[in-house]
Amino acid sequence: MLEILIYILLGIGIFFNVLAGVGLLRFPDVYTRLHAGTKCTTFGSIFICGSVIILGLKMWYQGSTDGSVLAIHTVGALVAILLTNPTGAHAIARAAHKSGVEPVGAVVDSLRKKSTKKAVKKKTEVKE
């Protein structure tokens, strides 16, 4: 019974990771690619780590001390992924917008005025 749950969680995680790869290849823009490549891998990693945690708890229940160590360290890896991945995605998106990459097909870009003003200011400061 628990084995079937582990396989289902592994399957969901692999499905979302493959979706991330396909979206990374097919989307037209940096921002949409970031959307696919970061969110889908975070969600898939949650399920893969969850399957390993359940495997460790099952081994611990069956009487081996290795299982508890496996589960606890996998929780640590999951916390590291959950803290670092969205922060890195936000930093990449901010850097892409500031370095002048335009969103494809965007009608309104309300962040653009601020960044262009800042860029012009910086250029004039350099000239002076």
Partner: protein
Amino acid sequence: MMDFEYLVVLLALLFCVIMAMIRVIRGPTAPDRIVGLDTINTIVISGMVIFGAAFNEVIYIDVAIVYALLSFITTLFIAKYLEGGDF
């Protein structure tokens, strides 16, 4: 020896890494390549967790934690470099 199901999972993760690597090579702009690298980092972390479960060794998962933190610092540094300005 590795079980069959973990081998299948790792081959699927390898397929994802190859697709992200195509984006890193072809990407028109520099942020595209960084997005591909970030995706490869996350997939490698989940692959290390799967390795730890397959061989029943905890040291792989410790390596995964350190890899996650170091790749986060690398991504932040490259993003800061692309943004321009002074550090």
